[in-house]
Symmetry: D2
Subunit: 338 residues, 4 copies
């Protein structure tokens, strides 16, 4: 079958890969939608990010939905024929963090389409994928695979929101209106934020942030000063930019919290600001129970994820899809179909 | 009366300053012990720290205890003749943060011996000081003024501990065994930490950390490797050193917390570490209700603060006192008497 | 001017009372809407509740909105002519709980229309009321006084929700679909509850609960069994009924929380259930910062409080208004105009 | 081998029971100390408690320590010959609560010597017991089996303390100075309580509470009035008495928390007190990670559990041991040796 494989930076190919065997606890899913994520783009452009680098060919893709076409012997037969969102996260279940119920911090995580371990965990940009039955979440007939595949980034946003504690009555800032940023706007609105300000350097993504619940939009390329005096209780940093983080530290209120989602940057922090204003700076990584929550919110139409979807490409045009996904002026979320 | 006044970097004088009037809600305290703090040393050496600089002569001193010699008309007469610890903190009571009960974040704080506002708030290294009656906390006859004057740094340590959440069962690291570091060791021990590792570049302060409850001592000048694999739940950073903070980020466990107390450094943080390991980085600044708690713990001999006191100088030798206080090989806490 | 005064159980009169003087920090409000609350009905029917009893004539009313017609010398003149919601809560500002930022627990609270202290604090069912300027919250021109007067019960609901911790992803049960119950449904929906089940013994109030966001309605007079297996994470008890509380303890999930809002009942609790299932049972009383939040949510049309308003009476018909307000089959929220 | 078996109320026998097979993940422990707990006494006197009743003969005992005499094929051989504390708790690992990391709420718990499920889970009052290797915790040579067997009740106390949130600076009341009560005193002291008041109706247990860290003792049989005005932040209810709970609700401060540990009573609570003073009432059941913490605290001599041990009986005198354990004037903790 066909799969989208990264071999080295910018060397993305549609390869023929073998089908996988279906174990007794497994299901086989015909993949119908696969969203391209920022980390897929990092593999494409740079061959990795941070200290992670591809060391063997890697099938990309972890924002997935499809149709169950086969189930293992121990799996409930009612799953056959269901459209499902696929949770790409497979924690070990036995490590210190799994036992604490913090599975996203698992010491032995297998996450689709990731080069963090070697051999790499192959991803889901392929025609069929075999998963543990516990990884698939059926959606209603009214929910399209394209929407279901957005459960993964929405789960990331919901997890970021849950890292911030209760948002009820809080003044929220979301920096960076990429897919994770705008879904964080939606999640913060759903979680009861008092007001939500979204920032970006482009207008088009900001308009999607508005559609998902932002009260106020600031194009910081044009109007950096508009942030002054914001006095935000909580900032979600989804731009991954050192400059944005430093601006954030200035405008978050005393006692406030910055939840860092974007990973790209190194940033030189002034300790005295963090100390004397008692700021909290906190990472948010992937998700755990938030995946089921995301599927449910999409299914009940509580969060209008379809607003994000700007482009769809056939797997044979994967390279074009990746190029378009890198152009933030043109696209928000690009998905592949197979 | 005599007062210890900083005029410019290294220009420390014992000046004659006028007595203060006693208002109806005030008490007049004959100062009997005044501890030299790291911020006093910053004023002495550099004329300030961070963006704060002395712009007029400033009486230093905010770790104070003494004898009440006069009380205002509206103050309980029983205070007369009491030995008291003096809380140098005087929040406004009406701002957003005071109303939230977070008075250490007060937007209009008056804190003794601080150049953060102008005109500066004059400090307590003088023979007599007039305070609001709410700022003095009587101690028992068995508690010396020297011990009572350690309530202030102990309050800082207790506040840092309270910023970390419950310590019960937690593996704790305290970096930097200066007065705040060793008192943080004591406070973490009191608050139920499972184990406490203390680090410094000198052995002598580490031995005081041990006396106050550290289970394990690491001289990182000699044995940096000993930190590896520490897997600490909570780190209290009291060294104010960029290198220490970066080491901390490596050895704090996933999901762990770094409470930053020291202010000196700028530090370049790797975002991807903070994100993928979901670390929390959080400032701790001064104290609020912890001052009363500190006085009580000293009074009940629950924390052996006297271990810290290495040197006592007469006010006339203030310059020598400051020089000794800067020599970390020789001294831990230096106090003045008046 | 006219005021609605309770003299003894069922003896409700429209009396002529003197106007109040306007102090320098005060505003004078022409009252335009006054909602009748459950506690007003308790004074009317029983002369009080719990251990509280009227001991002198008491002007009822604490759900108030109106027009500012005069301002004191130290008050911002822009308030003149504004429609405002009136916060009936006036904490002392100096007690232990006020200093902790928990003003709703104030040891010396003055709350409009309450017999908890003596002399009683007179309420706002009158033509004009003089308040501290800090008690009034302007609303936009689009917000009617009738809506603004619903800020008070909405604040109660928001406070109950904030007592429960983060609702994101939680299965919520609200028992009792009176005004506080249905506003708690709205507040829980706003705060991100995963699902909300509302119960009552009447269908009409349940339909209002549905309009405000309940996913599922159970008339427990008809279908008590429908609650079984609910496995709720959080229950808000707004019925004040012993039977409802005991049912709740059965159907709240292990580790779950019951927030008690209704006060009427005594209830015999089985300790072994609370212990072995580690339930939390917790009171919610009035509000603090939630009043401002309520005004803002009404102003921004985020919570459709107008759904509650079923009946409006002129002050001269106050007795009829109270009778209608007691008839739960007919009315949800009854307001007076003056 | 010999085992202590309850057949029906007051019918306690030393029976001969078969040895158990050692699986590949198991260890076989020669039981050297077995403490009699309140629930053992309930089985003895009443055949159960709450809705739980013995329906077949049940080997009692879950406070256990002993020597490892055999290990299964997959178990680390270094365990052989070790003295260990035995964790009697065996959660399923797969239910909703286990996945949340709240294993004490496991929906399919197997807990030694408990009739909660049928067939009952047999206990450890026998000469040898076979456990999963994950249930045994080695102690140092200096720690006796008698001390190690106290890890279980200490874990219960530590869990109760962790249910209360941070104790630093809190005024604590512990009602009931039985073994769990006095260990809760010790755990609250370890966790940084500001002050601890212990109550009981007998003086002897109160003296042990004092030895473990209580600041103030009140014999409420003699001096009920002494509790008035206590203004406690946190109450741990370890008496399981309705009267004690009701007294507690009166004297806990507004916003305070009652952690219920004792299970015996039904109690009629005045809702209006819980609501208007915003009390939290919360169950604490068994323990999870606190078992390892308890073993460590005993091993490091941080909590002097040996103070509790008043009587030791040979297994052949089990009936006498149970009679003595019921006499609270005479005994605190009674253990069996085998």
């Amino acid at each position: 079958m066909k799969a989208v494989v990264i071999h080295s930076p910018l060397d993305l190919r549609v390869d023929d890969v073998p089908e996988q065997a279906v174990g007794t606890h497994d299901v086989k899913v015909k993949v119908q939608a696969g969203g391209i994520c920022g980390s897929d783009l990092h593999y494409y452009k740079h061959g990795g990010f941070g200290t992670t680098r591809i060391r063997e060919p890697l099938i990309l893709g972890h924002e997935l939905a499809g149709l169950i076409v086969e189930v293992g012997g121990d799996v409930d037969g009612h799953l056959l024929g269901q459209t499902v969102a696929i949770n790409p996260s497979h924690p070990c279940g036995g490590c210190h963090f799994c036992l604490l119920g913090q599975r996203n911090l698992c010491l032995d995580m297998r996450f689709y389409g990731s080069a963090m371990r070697f051999p790499h965990v192959q991803g889901g940009f392929r025609q069929y994928i075999v998963c543990d039955a516990a990884q698939v979440f059926p959606v209603q007939a009214e929910t399209s695979p394209a929407e279901a595949a957005l459960a993964e980034p929405l789960a990331v946003a919901l997890h970021a929101v849950s890292q911030a504690g209760p948002l009820l009555g809080k003044k929220v800032l979301v920096t960076g209106a990429g897919p994770i940023g705008v879904l964080t706007v939606a999640a913060a609105r759903f979680a009861g934020a008092h007001s939500i300000t979204a920032t970006d350097v482009l207008d088009r993504p900001l308009s999607i942030a508005q559609a998902l619940g932002a009260d106020r939009l600031i194009n910081i390329a044009r109007d950096e000063e508009a942030l002054r005096g914001g006095d935000f209780d909580i900032m979600f940093e989804a731009a991954g930019s050192a400059k944005t983080i430093l601006q954030g530290i200035e405008i978050v209120a005393r006692g406030g919290t910055i939840v860092q989602i974007g990973q790209g940057a190194e940033v030189t922090l002034p300790m005295s600001q963090i100390v004397t204003r008692e700021l909290t700076f906190k990472g948010a990584f992937r998700f755990d129970g938030e995946f089921a929550m995301a599927v449910d919110l999409i299914d009940k139409r509580r969060i209008a994820v379809a607003e994000l979807l700007t482009d769809t490409f056939h797997v044979d045009d994967a390279a074009s899809a990746f190029e378009v996904a890198m152009d933030k002026e043109r696209s928000m979320k690009v998905q592949l179909v197979f």
